[in-house]
């Protein structure tokens, strides 16, 4: 078999400076050289992937500036700071925060941030043994005893929770979770609970961080501007879902309409249910799972989140991660009995899914094992009415064919949940979009090489794609991988609104051929080999289509999840491998190449 002129994936994905690297064979030296796809999404905080450890990775941001440079930007109120102190991490990067006068000694930073936020700082007792963290706008105050790591007291109208993590050598990471519009944050050294520091006394501090979410995550150093880590805005998402073999995750633009996907205490209606945050390790690998705990009241137990609408004719996809924690059954519904699903969290099955046929139809449900006892449960339905609506979550010790089950909780049993999502106008769910106070949109992932004429066989060639796809596609012919110059000269592999995969070629504005797979989901290997008056399409080792009457179009661009001339026709796929050859591979080679 001849060498591919371009390969992307095949077990080896490379990303450099936000570019997705394909590999081409230099025709003169036969050496591999990288060819860059311009990759675009423009979303970091809305994008997640499953990393090589099988955990959900988010885009993260430290919203503070000068996060460990306390002598600039920070305002010192009757305090001084001295750098070069021994830090929690073995460095000399800690600071001594000392009082210089009586009053309200503190260090503070003004900020504009809103939603669910976690403020953290590493702290250690010096001549003072206590620290007060106080926030304004979003009102909270928490007193930490740095001698033993205890939280002495906490209060505030926007206060959610707090914790200390003992990181050794007398250091604690002190964190406060709040929910509101933050305008200022302050760290006060104190000699005792409620007793402000006096001149010459203080504490050690290091590495402050303010981030969205219910837990403090790995520290991100900032300077004059905020800094990001994890998934970045235009970073391709190499995804390890259900596999040790990575794939490029490509998705369409989607919005999570649930304004609080993790802090469920803010949901609109809470009926006979206790909601405890940070009660277990989530699929993210942090202790930010929420426990839904039905009360001992004998009756219904549920929580609702509204603030979005369903539209007649459009699908809604609801998802939430859940893990049994005493009770084995999760209930998801939209508008109670109008559309509901019941999920078995002990064996990973869907017990019931239904709709009333008046408000919803075409219902379906799915449950996906994501490891460590967690499942992602999905409920999908097509709305028949246009009205404001809501997502409801419940749990129970038994499964019944209903939107919920009336019973008396035992006071300890429930389920752990994480990452609620409702995607309107969506016939299938996409990856998790975290929200902390507002609905959030993740833009479509797209990639393109704009000048690729040298990589594309202009008179003969082969396009190969190894891809996983699923879901009921409702968009008309969105692109998986496409080769084109314009809409009149192109070929490629698309999704089809009938859920199949569509392989086609157009030259001079005239359709040369089209053919569809029979497969409507799962992994598929497809090869399109072409030459003038000679086309063959192989799928999973078998010939699907041949033609002896085609003209090959002149093409110059290679696109992923878009067309060269249109960026908006996107779909969901996981591309494991795609290759271009400048030769028409033999039918035997096509069969070998596409055999799974």
């Amino acid at each position: 078999m001849s060498n591919a002129t371009l390969q992307l994936g095949g077990g080896n994905f490379a990303v450099k400076d936000g570019k997705l690297l394909g590999y081409a064979t230099d025709p003169k030296t036969s050496a591999f050289v990288s060819r860059e796809f311009d990759f675009s999404r423009g979303s970091n905080l809305a994008a997640t992937r499953v990393d090589a450890n099988g955990l959900i990775e988010k885009g993260r941001e430290n919203l503070l500036v000068q996060s460990n440079q306390f002598d600039t930007t920070w305002f010192l109120n009757t305090t001084s700071v001295t750098s070069g102190q021994s830090g929690y991490d073995g460095s000399s990067d800690a600071w001594l925060l000392n009082s210089t006068a009586t009053g309200f000694p503190r260090i503070q930073q003004t900020i504009s941030a809103s939603g669910v936020l976690t403020l953290s700082v590493y702290a250690k007792a010096a001549t003072d043994g206590f620290m007060l963290i106080r926030t304004f706008g979003a009102d909270s105050q928490v007193w930490f005893n740095l001698n033993n790591g205890n939280i002495v007291n906490s209060s505030g109208t926007e206060y959610v929770s707090s914790k200390t993590d003992n990181v050794g050598n007398g250091w604690y990471r002190c964190s406060v979770v709040l929910n509101g519009s933050l305008t200022s944050l302050r760290f006060y050294p104190e000699s005792a609970y409620g007793v402000y520091s006096t001149s010459g006394n203080g504490i050690y501090i290091q590495d402050a961080q303010l981030e969205a979410g219910l837990v403090a995550t790995d520290y991100i150093e900032t300077g004059a501007t905020t800094a990001q880590a994890g998934i970045l805005e235009d970073m391709p998402r190499i995804d390890y879902t259900n596999s040790s073999s990575p794939a490029l995750l490509l998705e369409p633009q989607r919005t999570n309409s649930i304004e609080q996907s993790e802090y469920l205490n803010t949901w609109n209606t809470i009926v006979n249910m206790t909601i405890d945050v940070n009660q277990g390790t989530s699929p993210e690998g942090h202790d930010n799972a929420t426990k839904l705990l039905p009360t001992t009241f004998n009756g219904e137990h549920f929580i609702d989140k509204g603030g979005f609408s369903r539209t007649a004719g459009e699908y809604i996809s609801h998802t939430i991660y859940a893990k049994a924690d005493g009770y084995n059954y999760l209930y998801i519904s939209n508008a109670a009995s109008r559309l509901y699903g019941v999920y078995n969290l002990s064996n990973g099955s869907v017990e019931y899914v239904n709709s009333n046929g008046t408000d919803f139809t075409n219902h379906s449900a799915n449950i996906e094992d994501v490891g460590n006892g967690w499942y992602r449960c999905a409920l999908i339905g097509q709305a028949l009415t246009s009205v404001a609506t809501y997502m409801r979550i419940s749990c129970a010790p038994v499964a019944v064919d209903s939107q919920g089950y009336n019973f008396a909780g035992d006071g300890t049993s429930g389920v752990l949940v994480y990452g609620a999502q409702a995607e309107t106008n969506s016939s299938y769910p996409t990856s998790y979009i975290p929200t902390y106070g507002s609905a959030v949109t993740r833009n479509a992932d797209t990639g393109i090489i704009n000048s690729a004429t040298d990589l594309i066989g202009q008179t003969e060639g082969t396009l190969f794609l190894d891809v996983e796809f699923d879901g009921d596609e409702s968009v008309s012919y969105p692109s998986l991988v496409n080769v084109d110059t314009n809409s009149s000269n192109r070929f490629g592999i698309l999704r089809n609104p009938n859920d199949k995969i569509h392989i086609y070629m157009i030259a001079g504005g005239v359709s040369q051929f089209t053919t569809d797979t029979t497969q409507t989901s799962g992994r598929v290997k497809i090869a399109l080999a072409y030459a003038n008056n000679d086309v063959a399409v192989y799928v999973n080792g078998t010939s699907l289509f041949t033609s002896s009457s085609v003209s090959v179009p002149a093409t110059s661009k290679i696109s992923l999840n878009r067309f060269g001339y249109n960026t908006t026709l996107n779909t969901k796929s996981r591309i494991g491998n795609t290759m271009l050859f400048k030769t028409r591979l033999s039918n035997e080679e096509l069969a070998t190449l596409t055999t799974i």
């Binding site: 423009g42 009926v271 404001a388």
Partner: protein, 123 residues
């Protein structure tokens, strides 16, 4: 390419659609531009209440304007400025982009400092 996030309110869905179509659509009605559009519609200003069967107890109160959020691929189109609105951060919807949120917040603070109250200095 710099991406800029802005919020807009129109008198009706039709008025919004007219403006959106003017950005460019092909013969199949698909956008030919690279901007990201999110139709928020008539926002729920007061959530409805429902009984356990999902029957409406009190109807939600909806805004009488039709809201659209746009992530511009480049600078916002000036022709849309008359419909641009500002609100305390971040309103009911945002795009999940650190750079776009930072730019929007800074601009909002310049135009509407009242949405960013200074903290009380009293203890």
């Amino acid at each position: 390419m710099k991406k800029v996030f802005r919020k807009y309110a129109f008198g009706s869905k039709g008025a919004a659609t007219t403006k959106l179509n003017a950005l460019g659509i092909d013969e199949e009605g698909q956008p030919t531009h690279n901007h990201s559009i999110v139709h928020l519609g008539n926002l729920v200003e007061v959530a409805g209440t429902y009984d356990e069967e999902g029957n409406e107890l009190t109807a939600p109160v909806l805004s009488d304007t039709y809201s659209v959020d746009v992530m511009w691929d480049g600078e916002p189109v000036a022709d849309w400025d008359a419909q641009m609105i500002w609100c305390p951060p971040m309103g009911v919807h945002t795009f999940g982009s650190s750079s776009a949120i930072a730019e929007w917040t800074q601009k909002c603070k310049e135009l509407h400092p009242e949405y960013f109250p200074e903290p009380e200095e009293l203890e």
